[in-house]
């Protein structure tokens, strides 16, 4: 059941976007999201679509993965459409609003599909490292984010296991009525909580016996070098961003 969740899964193949520096990817995502909310101009939207399609094409991930990702927010899109109709906005605005949501989901899924969670944390740590100068504990934040990300697949597996063991006891997750479904949900949620707390305790103990120190400097498993195409792609995004800002504000 939980295998169908596509958002936030890493897709392990080899491509240009997979090889990019995570910091570059995060900067691109941020720029893209800001850009897309700045303008309703149709020319810029076409340019951004081309940019997005180029990026999607370079990931070499099959299209059905992206289609699944977009389909997972179909209810949100429908809701936005209805709101737009009620408010009475023009056709162009409605289409662009819906496209914005789809683009954001697609672009962030490029980041999560091509970058393992630990690398995302590396990128975030590098991105926020200037904040260390004003005394914000960036490394502690990065640690807690990486731990949280690391446990998502574990918890999904755990959930699958619990569903299986409850189903084999005859608890019906699919065919029963509303009350039955609530009761079935109870049998999933409580063990999940209990086990998650237990796991967190175990992890804290394991880190403590290995004398883990948050503040010490540590190296990365992968050497994330900043290559030429990182600069190129970031500059491409930045150029478009500057153009849009100039057009909108000046």
């Amino acid at each position: 059941m939980l295998n169908k969740v596509m958002i936030g899964r890493y897709y392990p193949i080899n491509s240009l976007v997979h090889k990019m520096n995570p910091l570059a990817k995060i900067i691109c995502v941020l720029l893209f999201i800001v850009m897309i909310f700045l303008t309703f101009d149709i020319r810029f939207n076409i340019v951004m679509s081309i940019l997005l399609i180029l990026m999607l094409f370079n990931t070499k991930i099959p299209a059905n993965v992206y289609i699944k990702t977009v389909l997972s927010i179909k209810w949100l899109l429908l809701f936005v459409l209805i709101i737009n109709i009620i408010v009475g906005s023009s056709l162009q605005v409605t289409i662009i609003t819906i496209l914005r949501l789809i683009y954001i989901v697609l672009y962030t899924s490029i980041l999560t599909l091509t970058t393992p969670p630990t690398e995302i944390t590396y990128g975030l740590e590098k991105l926020f490292s200037p904040l260390r100068l004003i005394g914000i504990p960036v490394n502690k934040m990065a640690l807690s984010i990486s731990l949280a990300l690391r446990f998502i697949p574990t918890i999904i597996d755990q959930g699958n296991k619990i569903i299986k063991s409850q189903a084999s006891r005859g608890i019906d997750y699919y065919h029963s009525n509303f009350k039955g479904k609530l009761l079935a949900l109870k049998s999933l949620v409580i063990p999940m909580f209990v086990l998650s707390f237990k796991k967190a305790d175990d992890l804290a103990d394991a880190m403590e016996v290995r004398l883990y120190n948050v503040n010490s400097r540590r190296t990365n498993f992968r050497q994330n070098k900043w290559r030429f195409y990182d600069t190129f792609i970031v500059l491409m995004h930045l150029g478009l961003f500057i153009l849009i800002v100039k057009e909108v504000f000046l």
Binding site: S165, A167, R169
Partner: protein, 281 residues
Amino acid sequence: MEVKFNDVYYVYNEKTPISKMVLGNINTTFKEGTISGIIGKSGSGKTTLIELINALIIPTKGRVEVGSNVISKTRKIRNINNLRYKIGLVFQTPEEQFFCNTVKEEIEFGMKYFKKSVKSIEKHVSDALLMVGLDDSYLNRNPFTLSSGEMRKVAIASILAFNPKIVILDEPTIGLDNQSKKNLIKIIKLLKNRYKKTVIIVSNDTDLLLQIADHVVLLDKGKIIYDNNKYEVFKQDLEKYGLKRPKIIEFEQMVLEKKNIKIGYRDDINDLMKDVYRYVK
């Protein structure tokens, strides 16, 4: 009820770059009223095999027949819960499935809300507890405060309570002390002899399986290597599959090799010791 595997394949994460064939070309039968053992080192697909029986996962190719029900990709099972009530599956880690405040609620939960036809649930619950060797004082205890051995017993009781025709135990002896192990063996034998149930045990404890099983399946890398009478399987060289032979068989083979005396096969180590003692005297 009989369980029959017909050329079953199971591929994990199909059509993705991380797809992995867990089981391939599985053909075997677990007969009614027998105890079958499934052995193999970790990662050989034992747990997947038993999940297929319960329709928790559907085979990628081939079909699994459980009594008159057929589990296959092409045919949809109409009443999956009917099937699951005929099969009791106890997982490796029982503490994962507890969520109620008392042992009693835990055992009766499945019956109370999802199987309306069971009458006198209370009696079923205390009978099931008695079968696994716990008394009624456990009924009002919190399942999270039990020891792991007791948790396993409660998990087994919650399966036995709805009287399944097939009982599947996944690594039942891990974390049990000697006394509980003996009790468990007694329960399993009782299930076979008195209630004529089909029992399937997944375990690496070859000594245990020699003692109780009738027929043993050895899995390695998702393929069946041996599928035969237990003596025939345990006589083979199990070292290369990451398992060890039962001590009794080891001893008998040693006597045969060094002294050239055939002493025959025994299931229980106590019988062997008695015979040897008699011989020495």
